[in-house]
Symmetry: C2
Subunit: 330 residues, 2 copies
């Protein structure tokens, strides 16, 4: 790992850090808005655009349980079976790496994640809540032993008691995990908090050869801004999605991130083209992106589920009603 | 002026700085999207909401020339004549202060700005480009001598050569101006640049009893994030507008700012109510807010006028065409 500091590209305005990796989460996080039911044409267009744009990783979906998420109710990108992935990427004879996310307690990871030599996937990302860290570590070891790069996303990062996070990081530092993410699932954090979290994570893995990542949601329109602050502090894995497609207020927008980074390997035009042809046409139905109910859940450091339910109801647009409902509970 | 530092509320997460003032620019900046033709009911609703929300200043419009902006083409908030302002606010028997903006070379300021004792306005904000600083200083002195609080907004802050800015700040430090704003008209800047500009401004006016302000545009979805960074560095005057209503991508959103600040004097609900009843209903016609063409002009550090023209044309939505047109010019 390269430490950020006065000599690094952080704190400089024109150069860039070679170590930075951009991860596209469009289909995976966006799948939370449509039960992972994307047409193959959409997934293929995102894949092609990621390759053309020079993006480092594409997360194509979840590898979650077909028992808990039956195929009659959920699309293929909730399970990301090898035949589904290969239908899109073939043998993925490109520099783009592929990842899939496996949720603690929602995944039959031992059977569903194939040995690396049988898969086109490159990285397994384990998602967990703080109390699931022991299981997440078991899942990391399973994926590592199967031959994958590994990553842990500790969700709802804005709600984790400091002592528990310290303990989790101490445990993770001793595992083979390659990347640990700061995840602002609720879109609550602002710059100084993100900076403190990234510094804490970097300190915990110092000398262990691990990287820190950042995954933001846009409830307070800080997803991109907070991603920049994490980058400045030394996070090298940056999540984003096309047009911000993701749960609720969505993610850091890929088009903002690529047009900010100075590495000439990245190209904006293929992303804009895919957004125009395939992503924006889904907005009216999927309803992701900044909206007042998501702002309100973000300010309150809550899961966006109440905002999603409100926006799917006949009351959509009555933002004062939503505000009154949430604050009346106090 | 209170210096920001380790003992101040900047760098703390729960307390707040008493010195912070929030300025609403909804009608003034939003007037750039509709030739300042707002119904009185809209202006009154914003005024009432500002009062109820505990906002410090409301900028009700421009005081610009009726010759250059004829009343047949422009609404009353391009000129903000005393009788128009009083029709909305009466004698403004509230703690809310009122401001109006006067543009260098677009204003008959000597005749159109009344002596303070004849006006309900409290502050005159002079807007200028860097080459207009000598005229802006003359306008500041005129307004100061008439009895107003004064402020200078040096527009297009992301394009000003450093030597010229240093010279302007040196000149302004010797004037009676109360507040000098960092203005990111093109929505180009990111956090480290905003921080450096605020630090430069603070250093230039050190010991002069002046405050620094921040006015951002949301082209790269950094308006709110950059406002936070300016606040952290010691800017005490913060511009925002309801639903971000303002030119092109719009401004820092008032609802985001008020729900971030910890001063219990501020209240979110009246702002949400006004947005729902009066501001959002104008969005389809006025078309402000984050959009890809504005992102592209922001990334290029350009005025948003090409994006505004594109969005008003039949090509709206063809973002790749817009991108190709702009990059082909290079």
């Amino acid at each position: 790992m390269t430490e950020a500091g006065p000599d690094s590209a952080a704190e400089r305005w024109l150069s860039y850090r070679e170590e930075i990796k951009v991860l596209d989460a469009t289909i995976r996080d966006g799948g939370l808005m449509n039960d992972s039911k994307f047409d193959d044409a959409v997934v293929k267009s995102v894949y092609d655009a990621c390759v053309a744009a020079g993006i480092d990783y594409m997360e194509i979906g979840y590898i979650n349980s077909r028992t808990q998420f039956p195929t009659k109710d959920f699309g293929p990108w909730r399970h990301s079976r090898e035949e589904d992935v290969r239908r899109i990427v073939g043998d993925n004879d490109t520099p783009l790496k592929l990842s899939a996310m496996s949720d603690a307690e929602k995944s039959d990871y031992e059977t569903d994640i194939l040995p690396k030599e049988q898969s086109v996937l490159d990285m397994i990302r384990v998602a967990c809540y703080i109390h699931q860290i022991p299981l997440a570590i078991r899942m990391v070891k399973d994926a590592h032993d199967k031959g994958y790069e590994t990553c842990v996303n500790i969700m709802a990062g804005s709600t984790i008691p400091e002592r528990e996070l310290d303990e989790a990081l101490e445990m993770l530092a001793e595992t083979p995990v390659n990347v640990i993410y700061v995840v602002d699932s609720f879109g609550f954090l602002y710059s100084e908090q993100v900076e403190a979290l990234v510094e804490k994570h970097l300190a915990a893995v110092k000398g262990k050869g691990k990287e820190i990542g950042i995954h933001c949601h846009n409830n307070r329109q800080l997803a991109f801004g907070n991603t920049i602050q994490a980058l400045i502090k030394g996070a090298n894995y940056l999540d984003a999605s096309f047009a911000g497609l993701g749960r609720g207020a969505g993610n850091c927008q890929m088009e903002l991130l690529l047009s900010f980074l100075h590495n000439p390997a990245y190209h904006l035009r293929p992303v804009l083209d895919c957004i125009q042809q395939h992503i924006e046409p889904m907005r009216e139905k999927l309803m992701w992106g900044f909206d007042y109910p998501y702002m309100i859940t973000g300010v309150r450091n809550e899961h966006p589920r109440s905002g999603m339910a409100f926006n799917a109801s006949k009351d959509r647009g009555d933002i004062v009603k939503f505000y009154d409902e949430l604050t009346a509970e106090e």
